[in-house]
């Protein structure tokens, strides 16, 4: 069993038109920039994979990561909780032009729906969004005198996530708050593709400290000096300021 793939292109080769893709990260922390870049590069070179449904907390910022995917017109639909960011022009433009679909999901419901997808729970009830526009059309039920909304699981064809350490069996750790949605997405996707800062020998991660057990992981690419989305955005802003001055 060896889930390590030397080539990032090989790792993403199975992602095809129309797929639902979960992408780890919250804002810039945990965004798998190199995997996204490789997807965008392939789309620009071959026209595929297009018409993607992307699941992420946000809808891209600046011109990197998911925003780059949107600018490249690869994304047909976003499922997210907060598509507004300091600089979410890419999504806003396409959305207001009616060129991209949006499914808005409260953040906790998004997390729980993804976990449910990974845990084989097709539906659950939550107090979140009861009585609001978000709940329109969803079944409601009362338990112990309180009202709840029924929400369905979320699954994906592929998850692409960023990890800290990985071994050939797919066990993962994360870096600080970059963990966020990644362990859930790894559970909920048919295939989980990981970019890890470092590949280590099995056993090098203490069994007590494994965050994502290898059963949820399919492929691992080592990207030692991965870009950090927020850092990229700040660099770009500085360049822009400089250019404007």
């Amino acid at each position: 069993m060896n889930k390590i793939t030397p080539s990032i292109e090989d790792a993403i080769a199975g992602i095809t038109d129309g797929m639902t893709v979960m992408i780890g990260g919250f804002g810039g922390s945990g965004a798998p920039i190199e995997l996204i870049d490789a997807l965008v590069a392939r789309y620009k070179a071959t026209g595929s994979p297009g018409r993607l449904t992307v699941i992420n907390n946000n809808a891209g910022n600046g011109a990197v990561g998911i925003a780059a995917m949107i600018y490249a017109d690869m994304v047909a639909k976003m499922v997210c909780s907060f598509p507004r960011s300091t600089d979410s022009r890419a999504f806003t433009e396409r959305y207001q032009a009616g060129e991209i679909e949006l499914e808005l999901v409260p953040q906790g419901t998004l997390a729980e729906r993804i976990r449910a997808g990974g845990a084989g729970i097709p539906a659950f009830y939550t107090p979140t969004s009861f009585g609001t526009d978000i709940a329109k059309g969803k079944p409601v039920a009362e338990f112990d005198g309180r009202s709840y909304v029924q929400e369905r699981w979320l699954k994906a064809d592929v998850a692409i996530i960023k990890a800290e350490l990985a071994d050939r069996k797919g066990n993962l750790t994360y870096n600080k708050a970059a963990r966020n949605f990644a362990p859930l997405m790894a559970m909920a996707a048919e295939k989980t593709i990981v970019q890890a800062r470092q590949v280590v020998e099995p056993g090098a991660i203490d069994p007590e400290h494994v965050v994502t057990p290898g059963i949820f992981v399919d492929m691992v690419v080592e990207i030692a000096d991965a870009k950090q989305e927020e850092a990229l955005l700040r660099e770009a802003a500085l360049v822009k300021e400089g250019a404007g001055a």
């Binding site: 919250f26 804002g27 810039g28 922390s29 945990g30 907390n57 909780s81 907060f82 598509p83 507004r84 960011s85 300091t86 979410s88 999504f91 806003t92 959305y95 207001q96 949006l102 808005l104 999901v105 409260p106 953040q107 906790g108 419901t109 998004l110 997390a111 729980e112 993804i114 976990r115 939550t126 107090p127 979140t128 969004s129 009861f130 009585g131 609001t132 526009d133 978000i134 009202s147 994360y174 870096n175 600080k176 708050a177 970059a178 963990r179 966020n180 949605f181 990644a182 362990p183 859930l184 965050v211 950090q228 989305e229 927020e230 850092a231």
Partner: protein, 223 residues
């Protein structure tokens, strides 16, 4: 009615009601200011939706770790005893009722506890984030807000006109003029600025203010 609390003063007042040992989530933006005014000697543990408990202040400029941020995407630091966890566990803390206090901003709060704070209507790109979860999780759901809109219209109303964030969820409202608790679908006035009369306060409030027992003076230092 030129005398009113500044945002910092509203935040200060809300901070006084956070007990020692409380687990607290502060909404993005204005609510984050509450942390600045934690009374000395109290230990408060802050939760952020993106999977950190017990984070501390912002690091000095240039020392940010952008993998260590809060829900507002601002860089933070860690206190000893901090922990990381995934988003489902983070919202289990929220939805499961484990937070003592959540503090949010508002466009409107209704006397029945309804809150509208996420959408000003169909024109903008809708974005809800974690607010809809937070209002149904914490033991106390507090709103901090100016008492009226920029146009002078009441933000405390009989029924919200804007899209709701949550139904019957708000427990306390700290405004630029008053402290109001929501009890049995009524605004119960607990404190008001001494400089404003009951009549004037009622005039800028969109629903009836009920006084039960004493209404104290709302006294806040310059901050």
């Amino acid at each position: 009615m030129t005398v009113k609390l500044t945002n910092a003063q509203i935040a200060w007042r809300a901070a006084q009601d956070i007990q020692d040992g409380a687990y607290v989530n502060l909404g993005i933006g204005f609510p984050e200011m509450v942390a600045k005014f934690k009374p000395k000697g109290r230990e408060v543990i802050y939760h952020t939706e993106n999977g950190v408990l017990d984070f501390g202040e912002a690091p000095p400029a240039g020392e940010e770790d952008w993998d260590l941020i809060n829900a507002g995407k601002k860089a933070v630091t860690l206190n000893p005893g901090a922990s990381f966890f995934n988003h489902a566990d983070s919202f289990a803390m929220v939805r499961g009722g484990h937070l003592d206090v959540a503090i949010l901003g508002a466009y409107e709060v209704a006397e029945n506890g309804d809150l509208a704070n996420w959408s000003t209507g169909p024109k903008s790109v809708p974005a809800v984030g974690g607010a809809m979860d937070l209002v149904h999780g914490a033991k106390r759901v507090c709103v901090i807000t100016d008492h009226v809109t920029k146009d002078g219209k009441p933000k405390l109303v009989e029924r919200c006109a804007l899209p709701l964030t949550g139904v019957g969820c708000v427990t306390t409202v700290y405004t630029s003029l008053a402290v109001v608790e929501i009890i049995d679908k009524r605004f119960v006035l607990r404190e008001k600025l001494p400089s404003i009369s009951m009549e004037d306060l009622q005039a800028v409030t969109g629903a009836k203010l009920v006084v039960e027992g004493a209404c104290k003076d709302l006294i806040v230092p310059e901050v």
